[in-house]
Symmetry: C2
Subunit: 331 residues, 2 copies
Amino acid sequence: MPLREKELIAGLRRMAASKPRRGIATGIGDDCAVLQIPSGHEALITTDFSLEGVHFRCDWHPPESIGHRCLARGLSDIAAMGGEPIAFFLSLALPRALPQFWVNRFMRGMLKLAEKHRATLAGGDTAESPGGILADIVVVGSVPKGKAILRSGARPGDGIYISGQLGGSAAAVQRMQAGPDRKLSGKKLPGKKLETRLYPDHFYPEPRIKLGKILREKRLATAMIDTSDGLSTDLAHICEESGVGAELEATLIPRSSVGNPSRAVELELALHGGEDYELLFTAPKGKRIPAQIAGTPITQIGRITDQKAIYLKVENGLRPLKARGWEHFRN
Amino acid sequence: MPLREKELIAGLRRMAASKPRRGIATGIGDDCAVLQIPSGHEALITTDFSLEGVHFRCDWHPPESIGHRCLARGLSDIAAMGGEPIAFFLSLALPRALPQFWVNRFMRGMLKLAEKHRATLAGGDTAESPGGILADIVVVGSVPKGKAILRSGARPGDGIYISGQLGGSAAAVQRMQAGPDRKLSGKKLPGKKLETRLYPDHFYPEPRIKLGKILREKRLATAMIDTSDGLSTDLAHICEESGVGAELEATLIPRSSVGNPSRAVELELALHGGEDYELLFTAPKGKRIPAQIAGTPITQIGRITDQKAIYLKVENGLRPLKARGWEHFRN
């Protein structure tokens, strides 16, 4: 093992050892981690890549934000099942020239979010990267047996609900890509660095663990997904898995306000922009859904139909809503 | 989602759907996989990178071998705990130009091994790679509660045992790197492509799942690890975690025979070469260990001491055995 990897593992081990170890029988330092899934529960497992140049850029994202966003992707998947996180695993390949303080700041951002949600770093892998920073996050959680909220449970007549606001993360990407410098010179420039505090949805998205758990405990949701790919795509996933269609109302879709002065994002960004990590769920018609759960506003934005297609209600009628995939920074 | 990823996921889903689904409540197609860990068992989790240029080279390894080796790394970690695999997750980032038949052959190699060990593909992630083929494998298994065989259980006086033979994988790497062409021209050439059937230890290593399970069930092993980093390094891991030392006998170390004509590898390769995926374990003095378990020969190669150092007994006495890390193809 090269010295760099040895140091990295030793550091991770020190960091992991200082955290609570709920559910961890054996953590970093053996061939496998040994986890205790609570009795009567099932294990939830999700894996997510975070690749430099695809999911983040070092000239745009502070290391703490990159670490936070890596883990937030996985925690948000646990939230979308109504589960609770137990442990996470980090596979990290780093270019030889990357300074150690970058790694320290990256880990700080990741572990701060982990601590908040009581997820313990329990293992992973390290390697020297052949090109760019490569991270793969695995999050393991649990949910009472048979109670996970799947994508496949939506039924015609169900209301469609969204937590928080949409489009804030994509708006940040759009502004970084556009950047005023680029317009002035006419050349392709690296874009604009943003003040992270003005775009928290993008730099420090909050996985909705508590909300997901409450929706599961109170049996409010029939189907659920997190908005990692964007509303239009994620709603299409629910419709496909449930064998149903949907109708959204454009005016009801809650749009994020970002920047300074703070302004609501365009409808298109709220419809198609990804990585907001809000929860999109359906609930039976007539079920009373509170306007706020666990401090997060909940908005009804439409309803499930039996048409096998998705429509958006706008001023002058219905228009088909195409699922436009969110492709991170590839344009 | 780009078309390529969509196709890949659809293909993986078809392949996964045709396999037995023991322990899988929800597989590919939701935010998380939902797994059932058998009652009275703990979950085992391991993650392993396989990166082009670091762990494999496309000009040396057929795609089937790369897929097999990716998964074998993870299964071997489950074996080293005395566990049984349930499911695996594949995160795969591919360069845009990679032909689809490469991916199909890669998956075929991986799924053939998975089927043999009854591990179900239950999820993962896909992305376009910023450079080279990047795979990260997660394997989930289970073991009866408190019965996982850890690295930390070795005690002075225990015998040290190894399954199979060592050095065969490293011998293949050495021969590919050296290659006769390279010697002739004096230039750095891509090395030599080998006939895979003459070097099975390297191209199609067999994870010792059955052996690990029997050692656990019969309570034969006090500590265990798989030889992924090489005997000298992996024995050092056991010694470090157990707070003990060790003495090996050079003449007892079983060396692989490879190539045509088939010849035993040099002692140095058996001592330090990695990726053989044999099981290295310790057992109490006086415990009868069969010469063969689950069809695999077992050899005693030394004993655990209380000296906190590792020695190798050679013809003219003892010499310290340094843990020389296995660095894949980096020289």
